[in-house]
């Protein structure tokens, strides 16, 4: 092996090691940050108006995209689902099929993904910008902990908004399915709602959906505030932090979804 090749390999190994230790270091920093945010929760609720403001910006302003997407997803699900179910003479099962798909999976997951890209990226950009314009440093120098005043309310605003948005998504989806299934295609309304009621239970279907959306809310909010707080204080830094929020949040949602689904719905149908 020539000396050049050896040094090349060694420097590559060194860079790989540096990347891994850097990633682990960042993970450790992120964990410490997360614990700090959770410990400062009482600040978010002592200054309730701050958290309410964040629920407005994260939740209320996401309503339009969530409701519209829910409606369309429900309608498409209904169209596609009926086409397949009808082949086996099971067209009247449309209601229960759509309801279970939405409540168990699509509601929390799709709402979570939309939330990450709309509200999550906005939170990251806002915190990153405050860091870049030295507003966070100014707060620190005025003896006000920016994590308590800026980060914690945004975190809890996201966590509270997420399950509500997921439920609204599912509800709109079912409504959309009703429009297409009963009004357009002509399935009997009684069969639609009746089969749904018989097949969907509050426990475990709806409650598991709520648990999922809570977990997603935690994950997305945490990632959003962390990326914003950790962003490089430049224009490129904030922009790449925003992108990272959306990418990592989306991956986290899908991975957590798999883990939770495997855990929750293991015994059903046996």
């Amino acid at each position: 092996m020539s000396a050049e090749l050896a040094t090349g390999v060694f420097s590559w190994l060194r860079r790989l090691g540096a990347t891994v230790t850097g990633a682990i270091g960042k993970l450790g920093y992120a964990t410490r940050f997360m614990i700090a945010v959770l410990l400062l929760t009482h600040h978010a609720f002592r200054r309730l108006h701050l958290t309410l403001r964040e629920i407005y910006f994260a939740g209320v302003l996401s309503l339009v995209i969530i409701l519209m997407s829910g409606l369309f997803v429900g309608m498409v699900l209904s169209l596609q689902g009926y086409e397949v179910l009808n082949r086996y003479g099971a067209g009247e099962q449309l209601g229960i099929m759509v309801a279970l798909s939405l409540v168990r999976e699509l509601g929390p997951v799709v709402a979570g993904l939309l939330f990450a890209s709309r509200a999550g990226s906005a939170i990251t950009a806002e915190i990153g910008l405050m860091k870049t314009t030295e507003q966070l440093a100014a707060m620190e120098m005025m003896a006000v902990d920016p994590v308590a005043r800026v980060v914690a309310p945004r975190f809890w605003g996201g966590v509270i908004s997420m399950p509500l948005l997921a439920a609204l998504f599912s509800a709109m989806g079912i409504f959309g399915a009703y429009i297409v299934g009963v009004r357009l295609i002509g399935i009997d309304a009684g069969a639609f709602w009746g089969q749904m009621q018989a097949g969907v239970s509050f426990w475990p279907d709806v409650t598991n959906g709520i648990v999922k959306s809570l977990v997603f809310g935690f994950a997305v909010s945490l990632i959003s505030v962390f990326e914003g707080y950790d962003a490089k204080p430049t224009a490129e830094g904030v922009s790449s932090a925003t992108t990272r929020t959306v990418v990592i949040s989306s991956l986290a949602i899908l991975a957590l979804d798999f883990v939770m689904t495997a855990f929750m719905f293991r015994g059903v149908g046996v």
Binding site: A138, M139, M141, M142, A143, V144
Partner: protein
């Protein structure tokens, strides 16, 4: 470096020389590798979080370009430290905020948002916010950067008058020689992390130190070289000729 109580001290030097680092050391945002940082007798790097925050409540800081909170109005920006650290009722806070705004000449801008302000106005509002709690030490990070001549004069005068009126101590980090010479009591020159020179404005104007002279006169070449280190010009030009 010593900053006597009640005086205005300027820290001057070229970009990247370590001036802002000094402010961060005083404020406890950075810990020194060696040496001491003593403020009013307390060693800043050794303070616990609670004590550090208690000390910071007695500081005021004017950040470069203001660092106003963009989601609050001018009034709310100045009321912020009052609402956070005091139990004063809203009426009293209102009066105090208007007093601070009056001192910087912007009482009429109380309802405006930071994005609506010009650079000079934003700087003045940030100054009003820095003195909101009548601090014992005010730090200024490049207060003259990017301002028009009128605003420059205004800020300089405000720094001097407020320091004397409130009896505070001021540390001004800047590279604006002209304005500094007009208002400060003492100057330190810092380059590459070391104190090169120091003195009162009179002694600085008359100084024979080459670095101080280059700085005060604004000469392009001197102890701080014009040319960034590079191989000889002739060698580089002829390099492509083979």
């Amino acid at each position: 470096m010593t900053v006597p109580r009640g005086k205005i001290v300027a820290i001057m030097g070229g970009s990247g020389g370590g001036k802002t680092t000094i402010l961060r050391l005083i404020g406890g945002q950075l810990k020194p590798n060696s040496g001491q940082v003593l403020v009013a007798g307390e060693s800043v790097p050794d303070l616990e979080r609670e004590a550090l925050y208690a000390l910071r409540r007695r500081f005021g800081m004017l950040f470069q370009f203001g660092a106003l909170f963009t989601d609050m109005s001018v009034f709310e920006n100045i009321a912020f430290p009052m609402r956070e650290h005091t139990e004063l009722n809203e009426e009293l806070i209102r009066d105090l905020v208007l007093m601070k705004l009056h001192a910087v000449g912007l009482r009429g801008a109380a309802a405006m948002m930071p994005t609506e302000l010009s650079g000079g106005m934003a700087r003045r509002v940030a100054l009003a916010r820095a003195i909101a709690l009548d601090p014992m030490l005010v730090m200024y990070d490049e207060p003259f950067a990017g301002l028009d001549p009128i605003s420059l004069g205004i800020i300089g005068q405000l720094i001097r008058r407020l320091n004397d009126a409130l009896g505070t101590t001021s540390v001004v980090v800047t590279h604006d020689v002209y304005e500094s010479l007009k208002i400060v009591d003492y100057m330190y020159f810092v380059s590459e992390g070391r104190i090169i020179a120091s003195g009162t404005p009179e002694s600085v104007r008359a100084s024979t130190d080459p670095f101080v002279r280059q700085f005060v006169d604004g000469a392009p070449d001197g102890p701080v070289r014009f040319h960034y280190p590079a191989p000889p010009f002739r060698t580089q030009l002829l390099a492509d000729v083979s």
